[in-house]
């Protein structure tokens, strides 16, 4: 299935700006009238070395993802230990080379937080249900996403906090091959040697759908993998589609894989409400006897209004 990118006509740009204005109104009102919503925003740039999830280096495609997000969260306390959390978030992602991946999401979040006792050192359990509408430049990727996250947190000292999380996410897309379902377990340690600096280390295991891409060429026998990689593996046992996200046609195969990822980050605060973030991540994904590696470098800034 060949996919087209929507042309950015002035009419479309105007409609998007109009939509963005309406969507930003609740956040602006929240900030202006000091309602009990905590509003925060972030800007990040993430360099990915292997967008195609390819095994062979010759098929690796790298690009930088720029993301902006604005989120507002309201905490409604039910009693001393329990609180309901209501949130809304808008995100926009733009890619440096493969603009078909550009997308925006608008979503809401409902959470319940239980604290086992009083104070900063009491263990916390938090369940979040989030859903969002995804609008992608490549219309086949447009759809919805929903996530359920259960997180247990415990602060052991002013410097050290441990988070254990389990989440399950589902994303639909107009091209059903591009939709995914995935679950993960993660453990994260945050260490703040002082109030200005934070170091974070995270280990995550994920299991579920992954989209892997192979460049293909047309032959009398149909679309064939260009470099022959994966020829010994029956990718066609998996749902497959043709995408032009990366220019030349690629097969998108939705495979079932598991991923181990490791990340290390450092975040210097440049004020009580603003912090920078640097993070490096390495992920090893495997399905059957095939495995590949991804690296990602992230620079960002976060601010709480």
């Amino acid at each position: 299935m060949a996919l087209n990118q929507s042309p950015l006509t002035p009419r479309i740009i105007f409609r998007r700006l109009h939509l963005a204005l309406w969507l930003s109104l609740p956040f602006t009102a929240s900030a202006l009238f000091a309602q009990p919503f905590l509003t925060s925003g972030s800007l990040t740039a993430t360099w990915h070395d292997n967008l195609t999830q390819a095994v062979a280096g010759v098929e690796h495609l790298a690009a930088t993802q720029f993301a902006a997000s604005l989120a507002a969260e309201h905490c409604h306390t039910l009693n001393r230990d329990d609180a309901l959390l209501l949130g809304a978030a808008i995100n926009a992602e733009a890619w440096s080379r493969y603009t078909g991946l550009d997308r925006a999401t608008l979503g809401g979040q409902l959470g319940w937080r239980h604290r086992f006792g009083l104070g900063a050192y009491a263990p916390t359990l938090r369940l979040d249900l989030a859903t969002a509408v995804v609008v992608a430049r490549e219309s086949a990727r447009t759809g919805n996403q929903s996530t359920a996250t259960l997180r247990a947190s415990r602060r052991f000292s002013p410097e050290t906090r441990l988070d254990l999380a389990a989440d399950y996410g589902r994303q639909t897309a107009r091209d059903t091959v591009l939709g995914q379902q995935r679950g993960s377990l993660s453990a994260e340690v945050a260490y703040d040697p002082n109030p200005q600096w934070r170091w974070r280390g995270r280990v995550r295991w994920a299991n579920g759908d992954v989209l892997v891409y192979h460049p293909v060429t047309w032959t009398p026998w149909g679309w064939q993998h260009l470099h022959g990689y994966g020829a010994g593996y029956n990718y066609y046992a998996f749902p497959t589609s043709i995408v032009r996200t990366f220019g030349p046609p690629h097969h998108a195969h939705r495979v079932f894989a598991h991923t181990w990822s490791y990340s290390l980050g450092v975040s210097p605060a440049i004020g009580p409400r603003t912090a920078l973030t640097f993070q490096i991540e390495r992920a090893e994904t495997a399905y059957d006897a095939i495995s590949y590696i991804n690296h990602a470098l992230t620079l960002g800034v976060a601010h709480q209004f």
Binding site: S42, T77, A83, P158, P195, Q196, S267, A275, A302, H303
Partner: protein
């Protein structure tokens, strides 16, 4: 002549007793930088320390910009403290300290009632919603106390002559620093106190990309 001598001695004694001493306590760290928010107090070493005289009106510790203000508040035993919330978001003030355990469940605006701090000791305040919020109340069994300002100086005044134990506390001190001093008149030499401070261990407040406002 004997009567005159007795009268002279009486006058001298009265003057000595009435001479209100002043002590300037200068707090410095190991790098000779002045230290703010140190609390200095005096306890009589050669007699009875006057009983605390808590003020009739409550002392105020407000919550502003999702921080407690002031950070350190010295009070006498029996002082009432009110905790008005000036923020648009709610706070849940609590203390788990032995000297005073209490909590003020979630509120905005004025707290329902002032809290009486009736035991001497260090009381650490927190907010059950915003973990980085922290403040200290130093509850003292003496009316002679002061807190150092930005210049590191705490001024204790109206001190009757005598021997005292000077004690200094700061949130980043491992233990209270104490020394004995003598107040003999109005002009006592400044007391320079060297404080070995621990690293600042406050819970970090700054946000992170992708992190929710309430963890």
């Amino acid at each position: 002549m004997k009567t005159l001598l007795c009268l002279w001695l009486l006058v001298c004694g009265a003057r000595l007793a009435l001479a209100a001493g002043v002590v300037h306590v200068v707090c410095e760290d190991d790098k000779q930088q002045r230290v703010a928010d140190a609390v200095a107090w005096l306890v009589r070493a050669d007699g009875v320390t006057p009983a605390p005289q808590p003020p009739p009106a409550p002392v105020t510790i407000q919550q502003l910009g999702q921080e407690f203000d002031p950070y350190v508040t010295p009070v006498q035993v029996g002082t009432r403290i009110s905790f008005p919330n000036q923020d648009s978001v709610q706070h849940h003030v609590y203390s788990l300290s032995k000297a005073k355990r209490f909590e003020l469940p979630l509120y905005r605006g004025e707290a329902r009632e002032a809290v009486v701090f009736d035991q001497p000791g260090i009381v650490t305040l927190g907010c059950n919603i915003h973990d980085w919020m922290i403040a200290y109340v130093v509850v003292l069994p003496t009316p002679h106390f002061a807190k150092s300002g930005a210049d590191g100086t705490a001024i204790l005044s109206n001190l009757p002559a005598g021997r005292y134990t000077l004690e200094v506390w700061h949130p980043r001190l491992a233990a209270t620093v104490a020394r004995e001093i003598v107040i003999a008149g109005a002009d006592a030499a400044p007391q320079i106190i060297r404080l070995t401070l621990k690293p600042d261990r406050r819970i970090r407040r700054a946000p992170e990309a992708g992190g929710g406002a309430y963890r």
